[in-house]
């Protein structure tokens, strides 16, 4: 069952990669507002730091280096939970309320209800959820506490170039479309809550060209589950039907003695 979202009132990000200067204010602001501890990192010979999301890093800037007419060019991508319209994590989460959708359309979590099964890690099309040292889920929750109070998320507030814009999703998309931006995530997975204006193919940014819920997760939840429930009750129905139609296989003596054990 795909969770339904209120599309007209849905809020989200528009990330304009052409405006991003890689300052990582968003990373810092997120850590500050969400009181996330610093991660120990290592010098990997790149300006990209840290190299991956962690339980204490809900969003980060991915640095993409490429050659363009003899010059090294940097591209930056803000990586975070995409707040998918059809969220794989919510689809598989067995604990109601551990991962859920707010009325603004964000996918948020409640650590107290997380039962540490880690199914969301496998079901995410973007490999976003991380688990903290207490075995609880951690990812961007789109500052749902700030949004509920009418503020914008910490990252968007801190962004000095408006590369990260937060607001009504439809309005942001309309504006970007009018500006002839190449958008990513408008319709994928019932629309991502984070829509990107990219300057190249998605793969260049480490994004899947056609994001979708992993096939085996889809088969589990949308095929095996309904057919399995049907099959279980079907087999109970079948054996009961067999009992009252053909009936049990009795040996001669059972008929005589009623099957009693001497």
């Amino acid at each position: 069952m795909a969770d339904t979202i209120n599309r007209s009132g849905r809020k989200g990000f528009l990330v304009d990669t052409s405006k991003c200067i890689g300052c990582r204010s968003c990373q810092v602001a997120c850590k500050q507002w969400n009181k996330l501890e610093a991660d120990k990192t290592a010098n990997m010979g790149s300006t990209e730091n840290p190299r991956d999301l962690t339980p204490a890093l809900y969003n980060r800037i991915r640095f993409i280096e490429k050659e363009s007419s003899g010059q090294t060019v940097w591209q930056f991508l803000n990586q975070r939970c995409m707040h998918c319209g059809d969220a794989g994590c919510i689809k598989v989460c067995p604990s109601p309320g551990a991962l859920y959708r707010t009325k603004e359309g964000s996918v948020v979590f409640n650590k107290e209800k997380c039962i540490a099964c880690k199914y969301c890690v496998s079901a995410c099309p973007f490999n976003i959820p991380r688990y903290d040292s207490n075995d609880k889920v951690a990812k961007c929750h789109l500052c749902y506490d700030r949004i509920a109070a009418g503020m914008s998320p910490a990252c968007a507030k801190a962004c000095p170039t408006q590369a990260l814009q937060f607001g009504n999703r439809n309005d942001l998309i309309a504006k970007a479309t009018a500006a002839k931006k190449k958008l990513y995530g408008v319709d994928d997975l019932l629309g991502l809550g984070v829509v990107y204006a990219l300057e190249g193919p998605p793969e260049q940014y480490g994004l899947p060209a056609k994001p979708e819920i992993p096939t085996s997760i889809f088969l589990w939840k949308d095929v095996i589950k309904p057919l399995g429930i049907l099959g279980f009750w079907g087999s109970i129905g079948a054996v009961l039907l067999h009992y009252v139609t053909v009936g049990p296989q009795r040996t001669e003596e059972t008929e005589d003695k009623g099957g009693s054990h001497e």
């Binding site: 057919l227 009795r250 059972t254």
Partner: protein, 204 residues
């Protein structure tokens, strides 16, 4: 002369009920993980996290006891002969009330298929269960496939279980005694497993 003949030894019976107990513990603790629809079953264990813990304890017990049960019966369940084919053709006589006579040994081919399925399911559930146990230690695609196969084998097992319980109890009166007290009536043995009966009694 006794009217009864031994069908399962004490060791085999105890083993069977260990498998049974761990199987149903796994079903009850796991069904809430299979789908949110069955979240209520977590209450048997005091919440999802405890259910997972119980699932991880019952899992290895089931795996080991079920694997041992397979090894114990391996020879009797993995060969099919022409009598078995005849049994398959007539669906074991289960589709009509007509009297039928199959030259069946200790196990009929339906039982063999059930045992083989459970053996495969045990292996698949055990291996995939290991990946699901520590998903962050393995590539995501392995865990994704494991989650699907674990669910698929669960569904298959539970359906086979309905059939197994029915055929071993009310569907074939006199059968369950073999797994409870260990012995079955001789007429039951002559009717259901004539070849086994002859081998055990040496003729009549």
């Amino acid at each position: 002369m006794s009217n009864y003949i031994e069908r399962f030894s004490t060791r085999q019976r105890v083993l069977h009920w260990i498998v049974t107990a761990s199987f149903f513990t796994l079903v009850l603790s796991g069904v809430g993980l299979f789908s949110r629809l069955f979240n209520g079953y977590f209450n048997f264990f005091g919440g999802g996290q405890n259910a997972i813990l119980i699932h991880k304890i019952a899992g290895p017990i089931f795996f080991l006891s079920s694997a041992y049960m397979y090894l114990d019966h391996r020879a009797e369940i993995s060969s099919f002969d022409s009598n078995d084919m005849e049994w398959f053709r007539k669906a074991g006589g289960y589709l009509s009330r007509e009297p039928h006579h199959f030259h069946i040994g200790r196990y009929n081919p339906g039982q063999k298929m059930f045992a083989l399925f459970i053996a495969v399911a045990t292996l698949v559930l055990g291996i995939t269960g290991l990946f699901i146990w520590v998903p962050t230690a393995f590539p995501r695609w392995i865990v994704q496939i494991s989650l699907m196969l674990h669910g698929l084998m669960f569904v298959g097992s539970i359906m086979f279980m309905v059939l197994h319980v029915y055929l071993a109890t009310i569907g074939n009166p006199g059968t369950v005694q073999g797994m409870l007290y260990g012995d079955v009536r001789k007429d039951w043995a002559r009717h259901h497993h004539p070849r086994w009966y002859r081998e055990r009694t040496g003729g009549k």
